[in-house]
Structures are given as structure tokens and as C-alpha cells.
């Protein structure tokens, strides 16, 4: 996803001269092309994330459209107050791009896991939270994010994630993308869980359980129309995210269900990381397995839930 981000942001920088890119000392060589076409508009802000957010806010207030790029955990936890005040309170049009989000950097340990980031940022008024499902969706999401009239947190993975969307998509804020229509079951996948959700759907379909999949690339604003439809029509709705079961998509769906769920038929199942730190040495796939975020485990859980 990060290569798709670099390619798309470079393309956009050629089209608009107000776009500036700020990096927290990462992305070695990733932005060479950007620097080539927009030499005065790339800023390595150093290992100084608080400064980077403030600088971006000041730039936005003066008419530029800053994009801040660094590892998701450092872009969010460390500087939550800068995000809250300089971007949220001032409602500045800054795009924050957190790379290696979720369990992408599982092997680097909990310092690099970002499984609480969306829960924190979702609380900031006026700030949108996006997590596109693959590189195709990401390219469209960047333009939607730049068109948004407030700050946006865009959460992406690392590189080499499977591509699910076979054709270009029209990403819109507050709109999920329906990838596969379903019947008894819907899996609402966030970010890089989309390919896993597709695999889980394949497994369930092979067992005769019609399972739809939607990519919930816009966590905030949330696609409430889709929630209304799938909760009214299906027997079970599952959320899947590389994020804690607290605060992210599962929580947002549960909040919606508690608030607006009259007429809902389906029960809710939330797949995410447990409310604990992951201490053992692990890679992304084994970390997902630890959290029950693999297709087999998800399919088995869904099937079991349908029987009780």
C-alpha cells in the first residue's frame, strides 16, 4: 500500500501546487519521484512528530494542503494533543497517513503495533478516519481525503498486500464499498482485513453459507445506511479489523446497534485484537492468528455462532 500511496501522492502533487508532503524521517527513496517533481514541497521533519503536526497545521492555515507521513503508532499516540488541538480544534485540512498500521509491523514489537490508533482518533470531533481495503481503494481514498473539509487520518499497511478490487473504485467518505453480496452473513472488513474477509467468505460459501463482504474504508464518518441494511437482512454481521476490539469498527458498529438498532435482526460478532499487549516475537500472520484474525478461525467462529 505504501508504494501505491507514494505513486498517487506524486501524481497529485504534479496536478496541484498547494500539496506539500511532510515525512517523519521515513520512506527512504520512496518519495524520490515526488522530490523530483516538487522539490520545494517535500519536508523531512525528522524524528519529531509533535513538531511535524504543528508545522502542518500552520501550513494548512496559510493555504497549503499538507500530507504527513510516518509510522502509524508514532503519528498518533505520541502526538494526540497536537492532532486534537492544532488539527481538530482548528479544523485544519491536513491529511495524516499512518503507514504500517495495525499488525503490519508485528515483528517490531508493541512499540510499532497500532491497534488503538483509530479508537483514539475517532474521538476527535470533525476528524475523519479512513482505512482503505487495498491499493486500488487507497488511490481513490487519497483524493476523497484531500477533498474533505477537515483533518483526516488515513491508515494504511506496508507493502505487498493482496489486491481485492479488480477495477478502479469510487471511494467516498461515509460510504462502504460492497465487494460481494451476501445473505445470512455479512463481513464488514476494515483496511487490510479485506482480503482475509474474502477468504473467510469463500470458506463459508463453500459450506453453503451465503456471505457478503463490504470494505468499511470510511470508519468515520460511518456508513450507517449499510449497517441498517445488513443488520435488518442478515442473521449475523461480523466486523474484522487489525485493531483492538475496543474503539474501532467493532465498537462503532456496536454503538450504532445500541443507538439505532431497532429493526435489527442480525447479531454482531467483532473480530479484532484482544485488550492486551502482544508480548511474544511474531510476524503479521502469526499475530493475526493470535488474535483470531485468520480466515479459518473467523469462518469457524461465524459458523458456530449461526448454530447457537
Amino acid at each position: 500500500m505504501r508504494n501505491a500511496f507514494a505513486a498517487e501522492i506524486t501524481k497529485l502533487a504534479a496536478e496541484r501546487d498547494d500539496l506539500v508532503l511532510l515525512s517523519g524521517d521515513i520512506g527512504n527513496r520512496l518519495f524520490d519521484k515526488f522530490k523530483e517533481i516538487a522539490p520545494g514541497r517535500f519536508f523531512n521533519c525528522g524524528v519529531a512528530e509533535a513538531g511535524m503536526i504543528g508545522v502542518a497545521a500552520g501550513m494548512a492555515a496559510c493555504g497549503l494542503r499538507p500530507v504527513c507521513y510516518t509510522i502509524a503508532s508514532f503519528l498518533t499516540y505520541r502526538v494526540i494533543e497536537q492532532i486534537r488541538l492544532d488539527l481538530g480544534y482548528h479544523h485544519q485540512r491536513v491529511l495524516l497517513v499512518g503507514t504500517g498500521a495495525g499488525l503490519s509491523y508485528a515483528s517490531l514489537g508493541a512499540t510499532h503495533h497500532s491497534v488503538e490508533d483509530m479508537g483514539m482518533l475517532r474521538l476527535i470531533p470533525g476528524l475523519a478516519v479512513l482505512a482503505p481495503g487495498d491499493a486500488v481503494e487507497l488511490r481513490s481514498a487519497i483524493s476523497a481525503a484531500l477533498d474533505y473539509e477537515g483533518p483526516v487520518y488515513l491508515r494504511i499497511g506496508k507493502k505487498g498486500e493482496p489486491v481485492v478490487h479488480q477495477n478502479p473504485v469510487d471511494f467516498q467518505m461515509g460510504r462502504a464499498l460492497r465487494v460481494r453480496e451476501g445473505g445470512r452473513v455479512w463481513i464488514l472488513a476494515l483496511g487490510n482485513m479485506l482480503p482475509v474477509a474474502m477468504q473467510a467468505s469463500d470458506i463459508l460459501e463453500s459450506r453453503g453459507i451465503s456471505t457478503g463482504v463490504a470494505s468499511m474504508g470510511s470508519l468515520k464518518p460511518l456508513d450507517e445506511a449499510l449497517l441498517r441494511e445488513v443488520f435488518a437482512g442478515a442473521d449475523l454481521v461480523a466486523t474484522a479489523e487489525e485493531h483492538s476490539v475496543l474503539g474501532g469498527l467493532g465498537t462503532a458498529a456496536a454503538e450504532w446497534l445500541a443507538r439505532e438498532g431497532r429493526g435489527a435482526k442480525a447479531r454482531l460478532l467483532t473480530f479484532g485484537t484482544p485488550d492486551e499487549f502482544l508480548h511474544q516475537t511474531t510476524h503479521q500472520l502469526s499475530a493475526r492468528a493470535w488474535a483470531g484474525l485468520d480466515a479459518e478461525t473467523m469462518a469457524a467462529s461465524i459458523e458456530r455462532s449461526l448454530q447457537v
Binding site: G40, A50, V55, A56, G58, M59, A61, L64
Partner: protein, 274 residues
């Protein structure tokens, strides 16, 4: 627009009287911190900043970010006196529903560039403003006023390092070095001294001035006018908390104390306003 030092001192005395009145009427604290930076604000708005009160949103205007948001009353009185907004806004200060709060809100009044109050934000924002000028090929200048207590915040020094790396000659910082923070001597809480040398070692051109001497402040600010400069400019202004009123000066109780009616009158007499 050129003012003599005597005129600037008289303007500053008037603003001090206003600020003490605001604190008394609205029962709001941080009086000592407001009084210590009045002369810096007067030097900025009556001589340095190229801003037009009738056109406060002009993209080419010089920016002033008051990063020590708790001195907002000092900023409000300066902006009002310079004609950025009508007097009734000042009179409503601190009331429920008023535009002007104890610390500035985003866009609360013409001339207020940034909502501050949580310390350590303003310098990075100022760096962003200065970089935006470079990208957009505008020639405005950016001035950020920090408190000494604020220099406890690591984010100040992140922004300082970055500004020097970016050779932001259009950026100026004035530190209101009144030697007190909320609950103690700023040099006992954190080892700030030698403060000017810290800025110098961070790659800034730096000066120390008496922050109540308009000739000295003016001379230091004049360095910001030198064309083609590459280093950002830091002016460490030695000030006195509560400056201008004998019974408030260097007494940190006035970080939180509210003046009584009698104290307000006594202060105005000392300032030559009664």
C-alpha cells in the same frame, strides 16, 4: 508608522491598565504573565508587524502567534487598541457566550492567528506559517511569542531545530523570560539558563534584551528586517512578571490572584492612568 519610545511606553501603560481591569472584572487569572509581555506586543504591533487591521485575513500579512495563550488578555487589548476589533468585544471578555475567552479560541476575533493555551504548540505552527510563505513565494514574516515556562516543552525544541535546518530567516521568536512559571522559579524547575545560548546552539541568531526597553526590543527586531537572512531570530527578552505595578512585580502570587477594586485603582494610579 513610527512611534517614539515615550509614545510606546504610554501605549503599554494604557494596555496594562486595560489588562488589570479585565482581570478584575472577569475574575480571570494570569495577570502577571500578561503584564510581562505587554511591551513585546506593543513593539510588535506598533512598529514591526506589517498588518492592516482593516484587512486581517490578507494572505501577505505578517503573522503573530502568541504561544503563551494564558496571556490572551494582553493580546486582546493590543489588537483592540490597534483597531482590529471594536471595544465592546473587550468589554464582554470572559462572559458566557463572548467572543473573547480566557485563552483564545480559533478565529475568535480578527487578528488572533491561533488558539493557544496548551503550551508548546505555537512555535511549530509558526514554522508552518513561515514555510508556507516560502512555498507560496510570499514575503510575510512570522513572529512567535513564547513564555519561559513554555520552554519546558520538548515540542518547542523540536520546532526550533527544524526551523534552523530549514533556514527560516523569516521567523522570529521572542521569549518572555519573566523568570517564573506557574509554581516556581523557572530556572529551578528546569535548567533554562543559559537561555540565549541554547537558542544560539540550536542554530538561531540570538539576542538578549531588556524586554521593557523599547529601544532594545526595536533594535533586536530590526535584525529580522535584514534581507536574505537564513537563520531564524531568537530574542530572549528579560522581563518582570507583573511589570508596571509595584505590588505585582516579581510576585508569583499574581499568576493566579485577581485584583480587588482598590488594587485596580492603585495600579492605575501607578501607571499614570488616574
Amino acid at each position: 508608522m513610527s512611534f517614539s519610545n515615550d509614545q510606546l511606553e504610554r501605549i503599554a501603560a494604557g494596555l496594562r491598565g486595560e489588562v488589570i481591569g479585565l482581570s478584575h472584572r472577569a475574575k480571570t487569572p494570569h495577570l502577571g504573565s500578561s503584564l510581562s509581555c505587554i511591551d513585546l506586543l506593543v513593539a510588535a504591533y506598533w512598529g514591526f508587524l506589517r498588518t492592516d487591521p482593516a484587512d486581517p485575513g490578507n494572505p501577505d500579512r505578517d503573522r503573530l502567534v502568541l504561544s503563551k495563550g494564558h496571556a490572551a488578555p494582553a493580546l486582546y487589548t493590543a489588537l483592540c487598541a490597534r483597531g482590529f476589533f471594536p471595544r465592546h468585544l473587550l468589554e464582554e471578555y470572559g462572559h458566557d457566550g463572548a467572543a473573547l475567552a480566557e485563552q483564545p479560541a480559533p478565529g475568535c476575533a480578527p487578528g488572533v492567528e491561533w488558539a493557544t493555551g496548551s503550551l508548546g504548540h505555537g512555535l511549530a505552527v509558526g514554522v508552518g506559517c513561515a514555510l508556507a510563505a516560502r512555498v507560496q513565494k510570499r514575503d510575510y514574516r512570522t513572529l512567535v511569542i513564547l513564555s519561559d515556562g513554555e520552554c519546558n516543552e520538548g515540542s518547542v525544541w523540536e520546532a526550533a531545530l527544524f526551523a534552523a535546518a530549514q533556514k527560516l530567516g523569516s521567523l522570529t521568536v521572542m521569549v518572555d523570560y519573566n523568570k517564573w512559571q506557574a509554581t516556581g522559579r523557572s530556572n529551578e524547575v528546569m535548567a533554562l539558563d543559559p537561555l540565549r545560548e541554547k537558542w544560539e546552539s540550536f542554530g538561531w541568531e540570538s539576542y538578549e534584551v531588556d524586554g521593557h526597553d523599547h529601544a532594545e526590543i526595536r533594535a533586536a527586531l530590526a535584525c529580522a528586517e535584514i534581507p536574505g537572512r537564513e537563520k531564524p531570530l531568537a530574542i530572549v527578552a528579560h522581563t518582570v512578571k507583573g511589570r508596571g505595578v509595584s505590588f505585582m512585580e516579581d510576585d508569583n502570587n499574581w499568576h493566579y490572584r485577581i485584583p480587588t477594586a482598590e488594587e485596580l485603582v492603585a495600579a492605575r494610579v501607578e501607571l499614570g492612568l488616574e
